[in-house]
Subunit: 408 residues, 2 copies
DNA sequence: GGCGTTCGTCCAGACACTTGACAAAGGCAG
DNA sequence: CTGCCTTTGTCAAGTGTCTGGACGAACGCC
């Protein structure tokens, strides 16, 4: 294990500066004295730091606030548009990129389909997306964040393995850094999404597990205010834990992985079977209707949701079963980590109550009551494309320290 | 969420002082210049800190080392006996306490049976143990560490719930602190043991999962060099995650918890059944022999181990089944955390190869190969009563910063 | 014995936080 | 309206701690 590095005065300053910035970000508008009270720093120090921030354009004075018995405070606010960040979601179907301000507000989004794109061609598309967005940027570009499927060495930005794009040990971070000359952060999509939820949702939490359930299943862990990556940057790869002993073969080669029983793909597969088995059922009618329009059209999760609302009991059971398998995994997470906030997102989340109730029920049923009684399992607030936002959040955290939770 | 606290110069100093101490602890004997190279600090700063440490008796010069082309370095070593720590293991059957030096070497151990002891009577026994040990102490007492079953608020040392001792929200930390006037750390036994393995075993790891398998099952997580407690101090409570859908009732009231299928209790119960089913089998003969000596005598894990060595296939299958259930949980841990070092300990560890091979096999079979290929699942090195040692380690970490893994 | 190297220490300087003081700016009582 | 109290923001002085340069001491090598 590498020996830790020393502490210096510059680090102290950087830490306290980040603290002030974060106070403005989370609690602004606020006065210098207010920040001092919040952070424990003296008014003097806060004043110095704030002046630097105002010089950098990251904060500005917005006039006086109400007096509380003395001189009226000069209120400061964080300048959301002081910098821009490019957040990129390298999805399985499309690459989506956005110009995002420091508050996570999307200014502009562009996307490209990725059908069949691999290797260097895929990298070129990423370059194009970045260049198109930078042309339209008004504020200084703080950096580029990338969320991608697969396992990513987030310390260097090297993508160890992304099957669908045929990327192996691709140093995407380094490539983008040299080409575009700004800081770059790359991380797995599920982890990025977790950071987005941590940073941009209304309540900040110290510990958080965010689980994506879409075509694949993955989790992102925020522990102590920071993303946890694990020894091999594979923390949260829960989609390929075997949960069904008699399960079907997974694309990873094993049988009965969580993905084979709880992902969108798994649900749609079983819904399609149910439709074929009973063409007069709600799901059957929807399948017929969809196929009538365009023969190759397949059922969607919206169809599944609608079928349940129309009282299709077999489909409801399919969804509940999928939810229960996920709940089994969640119970394990609760037992291992005792984290109170578990957030679910991804396409399957649109199934709503029938699904999440099954997840909750099974998670509670299978974990120690003393632990699970305080656990909240919720759907993510709708704050946009979580992976893209999370990619941006990676940068805000790395460059501005906006999410670091702990003291030094 | 509470706002983080500011960084000060004192913290910088404390951090760097801990860094120097740790360099001496882990890499000593070493010169001031060597510590400077290791830590990145200047020789000046290291010299100052070292002089303080020598003044406190925590380090001493032990003469000159070999020259590497210039002035021979003055070698410094950590003084293991500069302070003593009392480590206490509040086991289910006995309370065991030891006077331990800073290297984890046990100087003296005493214990008391706890049969039927509850409430304040149990607290009184803890006091007695401490007082008996302090009477014999030569070096200054650095503090008291306690490992206990149940859920413990480690930040205050309050035991939320320990069923067997009938303790509910007992502020044991506060009680011991005021009575004995030294720093006190209290934590769950499994977490304490994990810290002992992290601190006292030959290789230090940044991330570690240590799983106790005895009468109960629990885990301790070391993440980023520090114990992870979770939101409700219940991280690692894996014994009561339901893993067997058709399982037996657990003492926690649910059915099919990991403890009901993988604990020492579970294994012995099934071994006893096997013995009764076939009195001529190795395990049957052992049961008969044991009962002949004293009628109430029960089978032990040593009997189980011996029976397997004697070729008792049904008993081997019992052990393998227990190991596989644990492996299932370990697979989940690997998927969720991607931690490469998993250490098993507790009484069941004495079953050796047949058991741990089953754990390994099942864990690998059920987790993503890309993750599990680098995972090592091993038995703990035999370094004594892990809970007692861990209780001591809690203090070394809290007071001397000997385990903190990260930079500021 | 001279030279280069390494070690430990001393001293000056830089950096960043703290403390105390003060002017500016507000509310409130009389 | 005046005087007093409170709060804010800044300035100057002080302190703690790291850094960097320099120097004597100690050692190996030629």
């Amino acid at each position: 294990m590498a020996f830790p590095t020393r502490a210096t005065h510059q680090q102290t300053r950087a830490y306290n500066a980040a603290l002030v910035l974060r106070a403005l970000y989370d609690f602004g508008p606020i006065s210098r004295a207010g920040v001092a009270r919040l952070s424990g720093l003296t008014r003097t120090t806060v004043g110095e730091v704030v002046n630097d921030l105002v010089g950098d354009g990251l904060a500005r004075e917005i006039g006086r606030g109400p007096s509380t018995g003395g001189k009226a405070p000069i209120l400061l606010e964080f300048v959301d548009g002081a910098r821009h960040v490019i957040g990129i979601d390298l999805g399985e179907l499309v690459f989506r990129a956005a110009l995002v301000d420091l508050r996570g507000q999307v200014q502009r989004t562009i996307e490209r389909p990725v059908s069949g794109l691999t290797g260097n061609d895929a990298v070129r598309v990423v370059h194009e997306l970045i260049e198109e967005l930078t042309r339209g940027a008004r504020a200084t570009l703080l950096g580029i964040g990338v969320g991608t499927p697969g396992i990513v060495d987030a310390s260097t930005g090297t993508i160890r393995r992304a099957v669908n794009l045929d990327w192996n040990d691709l140093p995407l971070g380094e490539i983008l850094r040299t080409r575009h000359g700004v800081p770059v952060e790359v991380a797995n999509d599920s982890r990025a999404a977790a950071l987005a939820i941590e940073l941009f949702s209304s309540r900040r939490r110290n510990n958080l597990v965010a689980i994506t359930v879409g075509r694949g299943i993955g989790a992102g862990l925020v522990l102590g205010g920071e993303l946890f990556h694990g020894d091999g940057f594979g923390a949260g790869e829960i989609g390929h834990v075997v949960v069904d002993d008699d399960g079907a073969e997974c694309r990873c080669g094993r049988f009965g992985c969580l993905e084979t029983v709880a992902s969108a793909t798994a649900i749609l597969l079983r819904a399609t079977e149910a439709a074929a088995a009973d063409p007069t059922s709600p799901i059957g009618l929807r399948a017929t209707y969809a196929a009538a329009a365009t023969p190759a059209t397949r059922l969607t999760l919206a169809d599944v949701r609608a079928a349940i609302d129309e009282g299709d009991e077999p489909v409801r059971r399919i969804v509940v079963t999928a939810g229960r398998f996920l709940g089994q995994m969640v119970a394990g997470v609760i037992g291992v980590l005792d984290i109170e906030h578990i957030v679910l997102h991804g396409s399957v989340a649109q199934l709503g109550e029938p699904w999440i109730d099954a997840v909750r029920d099974e998670a509670r049923r299978r974990s120690l009551r003393l632990l699970s009684q305080d656990v909240s399992i919720e759907l993510a607030e709708p704050i946009g494309d979580l992976v893209m936002m999370g990619a941006s959040a990676l940068l805000l955290t790395a460059e501005l320290g906006l999410a670091a939770g702990r003291a030094a």
